[in-house]
Symmetry: C2
Subunit: 308 residues, 2 copies
């Protein structure tokens, strides 16, 4: 594969201290646990609260991960922002850290923008970054950005920047759309990732690359197991088990729920904190979620415990 | 009035050079022309392409305006961004420049966020800025942000931060909503601005403060005239004339159209440039727009001509 990318990536949740400052030490510990489970680190995704952090905060966190000996080929940071200068700054920094690729949102402030305008945005970023190591994974999450990436736009970008446009994460939640992306684009040079492990088996069977999923923050080993054994006899059963666990989280706002579970299993209540406008899960909802997870026999085995 | 704010503000369009870098000299010239017409400068609004600029670019531009002897009481920069640290940085800088107030978007990445989450965002910003000079004008533009500011949220913010929450710009385009805001909140201490001069007369008659409108970039004198003479016999006729001019622009994407008109009347084609994902008006559309403006006898009298 041209894309060094693995099959399963976690949009890594971001820990905050009591002043809501980013907690690099706690992030490094969680990232190390995730990589031990075989999951790649799509830091600075939607579930990372990336857009609630400044460019400087994200640069500092990525540097901290690399200094903690996390290898660049396990990192796919989100670098797409509304302002081209910001996107270029973060993308260049990611390349200087040796990252395998970057996950790039479209500019998401203006709505109803044209494919031509989005093409020019990505083209301008690529030309300014001007680095042959650049591998961009497009990030389609229209329910959040309200700025979809059309199939025609993807085709045009691939044709204009072969080798640079290396894949896409489809977080739209619509399997028929992921399927259309795989049928039209999936190849050795273009990785199509589902945005949820709910579609992992379907994605791999259809010829896609894998998934980049929030739940990989808490359930990495089981997701990686299916990705590695998707042709096994019990693959459908494994998928059903992944779905059952994901169902627990989907009854709550996903980011606060991931953080609440991580807080519980790492005995670190600090993990529950989110930055506004998000709200942490309250005690009642946390207890209810944990109860459901226990019913499934779930635990975050071996998760790093950091005091606090 | 507690709010030093005037009645008419322009979300000042931002000029870019051939490399799409911000052109501070051209911005200063346009800003000076606008203030001569009696219009306040709501720099870094939606029409300023503010979210297509980095925090550092906006700080540099605001500093350039102040260094060009534009007085702080004529400045209401937009400072609301998705990340609290960025909003705090820009807001502190605006205060250090002596700005009359700041126009503050809600965080606009996540959708479906709660009033409680939005309240915490604004509260956190206010507590971190920790400056008694702070005057926040809330910025309601739900068709772009997809994050509306509810009347209950506004009431709660006003009650919790009296004197700080100084007003709102309602860019929703729905007069009944602006009317509801005026009826519930308008006072000496809380300014309700319509987001378009189309509602200027209605706003002033209902007891609102005025308007903050894109078209004030090109038609400032006539809008200021109505704001000053809204009780005159010909006020409705003046409003009709403002509407007729605005109609011309609304047939096109508004930002590129404002820039195309400014380019034409200042003989500075450079003004047409926008940053992706926006697209500049093409020659055909520009010619068509100018033709319509000429039919109305419109010109941007005395607009600064900067070569290029």
């Amino acid at each position: 594969m041209n894309h060094a990318a693995g099959k399963v990536w976690a949009p890594v949740i971001t820990p905050f201290d009591a002043d809501l400052a980013v907690d690099a030490g706690r992030l490094v510990a969680h990232a190390q646990w995730l990589t031990e489970q075989g999951v790649g680190l799509a830091v600075f995704g939607t579930n990372s609260e990336a857009n609630s952090m400044s460019v400087a905060e994200k640069q500092a966190l990525l540097t901290a991960l690399v200094e903690a000996s996390i290898h660049g080929n396990q990192l796919m940071p989100g670098t797409g922002l509304c302002a081209i200068p910001d996107t270029v700054t973060l993308t260049r920094h990611a390349l200087s850290c040796g990252c395998a690729g970057v996950l790039m949102l479209p500019p998401f402030y203006y709505k109803g923008v044209s494919d031509e305008g989005l093409f020019r945005y990505y083209a301008e970023v690529i030309e300014r970054v001007a680095d042959e190591r650049l591998r961009i994974y497009l990030y389609h999450i229209p329910q959040v950005t309200k700025v979809p990436l059309s199939l025609d736009l993807i085709a045009r970008l691939r044709a204009s920047f072969p080798g640079v446009i290396a894949g896409i994460k489809d977080s739209g939640g619509d399997w028929s759309h992921t399927q259309a992306l795989i049928q039209r684009f999936s190849s050795e040079e273009f990785a199509v990732y589902a945005g949820s492990e709910r579609f992992l088996l379907d994605t791999l069977r259809a010829g896609g690359a894998g998934c980049i999923s929030a739940t990989a923050n808490v359930n990495p080993a089981a997701i990686v197991a299916l990705a590695g054994n998707w042709q096994a006899d019990d693959a459908d059963l494994q998928q059903q088990r992944l779905n059952a666990l994901r169902d627990c989280f989907e009854g709550y706002p996903v980011i606060p729920a991931m953080k609440a579970a991580t807080a519980y299993y790492s005995s670190s209540d600090a993990w529950r904190r989110v930055r506004p406008p998000l709200l942490e899960l309250n005690d009642e909802a946390r207890d209810e979620l944990v109860e459901q997870l226990k019913t499934l026999g779930f635990s975050m085995q071996g998760v790093e415990v950091v005091n606090g």
